[in-house]
Each structure stands twice: as structure tokens, then as C-alpha cells.
Subunit: 292 residues, 2 copies
Amino acid sequence: MDHLETRELRYFVAVAEELHFGRAAERLGIAQPPLSRAIRRLEHRVGVGLLDRDRRGVALTPAGAVLLREARAALDAVEAAVHRTRRAGDPKRSLVLVTKAGASHELLRRLLDRAAGEPDAAPVDVLLCEVGEQAGLLRSGHADVALMHRPFDDLAGFDTEDLYTEGQVAILPAVHPLASYERLTLAQVQDVPGLPIARWPRLDGSYPDGPGPRVGTQAQLAQLVALGRTLLVIPASSRAWQWPEHVAVPVVDAPEVTTVIAWPPNSRSRAVAALVRTAAGLHDTPLPAHTD
Amino acid sequence: MDHLETRELRYFVAVAEELHFGRAAERLGIAQPPLSRAIRRLEHRVGVGLLDRDRRGVALTPAGAVLLREARAALDAVEAAVHRTRRAGDPKRSLVLVTKAGASHELLRRLLDRAAGEPDAAPVDVLLCEVGEQAGLLRSGHADVALMHRPFDDLAGFDTEDLYTEGQVAILPAVHPLASYERLTLAQVQDVPGLPIARWPRLDGSYPDGPGPRVGTQAQLAQLVALGRTLLVIPASSRAWQWPEHVAVPVVDAPEVTTVIAWPPNSRSRAVAALVRTAAGLHDTPLPAHTD
DNA sequence: TACGACCGATACCCGGCGGGTATCACAGTG
DNA sequence: CACTGTGATACCCGCCGGGTATCGGTCGTA
């Protein structure tokens, strides 16, 4: 029999992520024996071993690693189906646009102005998230459309349209010697003594090794820059980090960053298509230089 | 409670496609009452009406139409998870490359030759399908990678790399007056008296209105051309239709067709990546002119 | 207008399966 | 050797998915 149920996939993902039946069962809110049974049956149904139950721990087989990736995508798709259906049935339906807080602020403001001015425009709700969360929100149907940034964000699986390309700036503590430069190079901002690059968590929540401070949100990072503990390189239009204690210096050889509008394939509703068209129309009126 | 089960989605898709509870239940191999109950519970769980039970028939609400599209995608994703996991666990694992029978024949042959010559190359199984089937096979995990043709095929949701761009030719019965031309224009091949364009089935299996003959496979269409009943315009490298009774005449103003290699996003295994790289390397050695 | 056909909804029963508790088997460790 | 931590096994129970029988409303038709 084919036809896995999402419950089985959820169970497997929990075990594969925890690599521990007891903790996975706790996370799922069930007892451990039924979980073991469910995973065994799943392995039997799929026909391949998914986990190596070595004493002292559980490990993924190659097939299990594939299923972990695929199951996450499938569960996202199911969740997205529910959310998109709910929003489709909402009488006062609005488009949800998600973007990183502070990024592409001018472009977003112009897009919203333009979109509001369109005839029979659907209202646009703006959902601001932290770094790297857009893809998940779009995949799981919590949002209809996203502003994302190439090459930073993972655009795999979305349709996109380029909106705006810009250079990057280094954000430095105003008191730091480098802050007085007119422009910098990547070589100058890498390995600056006393200003190590901050570390973001990986997908599994762990942090890579390195000297930099650990951060989880933009606000944390901004404060660490203001405290003179780190620096960062970001697109010139980003606003979230630009405190009074910060200075932005162009980094002339940093890769260019393109802001794109992204939406799930096969979900291009009339409202999404209209918003994408409006966004693409912004090409014609270039953004003003950043002033503050 | 969120967390739909795939069974509920399968049930809903069946009803939404049949628009008839009795037939849907029969298709699912269950009785009608449990199906009605399941759909009602699904509507309650999602929180919006999905079907209008008007006496004399069932109709999709707007939200129902959204769920039909999303549920199909989600079920594809679940099915893909199973298939990809099975193949990942297969000790003699091979890549499955799917392409339309007869299309891009030379390019495919070269790709397979090159791929076989690569060191530590995974064996490549070729799966030939009919028009428009590639996307589904790729989405449901029956294939790992596909050769597709822009702008004909639906590339939404896949990562792609362009391989080869070419013009199109009209395939005509050899005995037809147009067959003696050196080249043609789209205006000349449209609405040719006695040679109406054939009609392909829509996704739901119905045929659009029009004068042309109905076809479902390339072989049917090829024979109808040989019988002098229709003509078609296809990329120059296509072979499936080129019978001795056919003549191919370049259509100078037909849109160019690009052969692309496509694969599911986030599923770029080492083997797929290697094959894509090999395919991209074919750029360097242009295909010989088509001779037969 | 009355009757029958059609179709989805309701009522009710049953069996299987998902989930719980208790316990086992085994490896590592002091 | 006892103890701890882990997943597997044994066994029971209650819910829910599925079946049959039937209802209720709406057409078409004579």
C-alpha cells in the first residue's frame, strides 16, 4: 500500500530531527512505544530502512536523509493547502506580503503606495520577519508573496521577478577607525581585529564555530554593532541596522544584491499577478538615493 | 486542530474532480456515506465551505478551487517523498531522466554519451512520455530530472538550465502544396484550408472546440499528418513526427524553442547535479545541423 | 399533481488501529 | 554488578473510519 498519511511523516520528521525516540515522542505529545511502532511501519511501507538504531543513539540512513528533506517539503505543501484555502474563503481577503524587517524599505513603501492606487486592488497585509524566515512562510502558505534578496535568500522552488539591484555597505560602530573611510573593500572588513563577524544559527538551531558573537535577530545584531562588538555587510537600502551609533560605508567590491519579488509556483492568483505586475512596473521609476 | 491527513485530501480531490459523491466514492473504493462525512469534517476543520451542494450536482466554491489545486500539489509532494526515498534506498540506484518521446533526440543522445563517459557516473534510465506528462512525473518523484521545452512546457516550480535554442518547422503532408516551399511564416500555416490544427485534451480530459481532429498521442498526430488531415509546428530537432510521408519546412517567424534540463528544487542530489553539469557542458559543442 | 429516480445527509453498528501503561532486553558506566 | 538510559515488545482500550439501511428534498415526467 502506498498512501502515506501526514501523521507518519510528522512522526518521522520529529524522530529524524531529534534522533531520539523519547524526545521526539514528547515533542509530538504521545508516548514512545506508539512512535516506535509507527516508524517501524513506515519503514516497512516505504520498503527501505530509514534509521540505524545503533545502541547509543539513532542515525539517519541515506534514504532517511532523503525522506527527511522530502517529508518537510510535503508537510509544508499540506500546511500551505490549508492556509491558502482558509484565506481564499475569507470574505475580506487580503494578500500577505512578507519581507525581512528593515530590508528594501523604500522599495516596499513605493510598492505599497502603487498597489493601493491600483483600481480594484486587493488590500496588502505586510508581514515582517527575521532573516531567512520568508521562504518557510511562503512555502507553508502563511504568505502569498515575498520580497527576497539574491544571493542571500533561498529562492529554490519559487517564481521570481527581479526588482532592484544595489551595492552593499559595511555597518560599523561610529567610533571605529574604519568608520571614517569613504569606501572600503571586502578585504578591509574581513578579519578586522576586535570586530568579528556575528554567527547566525543554522537550520537546526546550532551555531557554527568562530570568534563572533551569536545572534538570532536583527535587533540583537544592531545592538552588538552599536556596542562595538561586531560589524556586518548588508545591502545599501537596509534600514533595520542603521542606528545613530552606526556608520554605513560602501563596500565597493561586495557582490551586488538584487531584491526580487517571489511567489509560489502554480499559485499565481489574479491578486498576486496584479501585485507582481505593479512591482515590475517600479523598474521604470528608479529609487532615490538613500538619504537620512 | 490543523494537521490534515492525506486521506482527507485524496477524498476531497476525488469529489472535486467528479463533482459527484457517489462516483467519487466508487473511485475511492469506499461507500458514499463515509465520504460525505469526511468531506463535511474537512470543511469544518479548514473552516470554510468547499463545495456548494446545490440539488442536482455539486460545485466548487472559490475556496474549494484553491484547495483542489493545492491538494493536488501536496499529494504530489507526498508521493514524491515516497518515490524518492525508495529510489534513494535502492542499492543499484539510477537516475531517471524523462523527456518527450522524439524530442531533442540528438541532444539526448549526446547527453547520455557524455554522462556515461563521466567518471563514477550514475547509470541514467531514460523514461519517454507523451506531451505534457513530464512535469507530473518530475513532481511526483517518478523521475529525477527532465528535458523540457520552453515556452511549451510548464516549468513552474522547477529549477532549470537552458541547453539549446532552435527554430521551429512546420510538419506537412509531403503531397500538400505548402510542402514545396523553402520556408514559411506563421500566417501561412494558420488556417490552411483542409489542414486544421489538431486538438489536444485539456487536463480534465475534455477537448476544446474547433475544427481540428482530436489527438492524445504523438503517434496519432503523426499519422493524421501523413493522412493529410492536419499540420503542426514543432522544434526543428523533433523526430517523432518525421515520417517518410512528412515534409519539414522552417517557419521563420515562429517563436524559438529552448530545450532546458529541469529538476525539482531542493532535490539536487550529487548525481542530479553531476548530470546537470554534464548537460550544461554540451553548450560548448554545438549540435550538428539536423540531417536525415 | 403525483410518482419515481436521483443524490446527498443521517442513523447506527462494527472492527481495526492509534495510543496508553507496564515491562523487557541490552549496552554502557560507575 | 547494580544502575541508567534507550528502543522494542506485550497487551488493553476507546475512537474513528467504514459499512448498511434509510431518510429527505428536488428534479423530470406522465
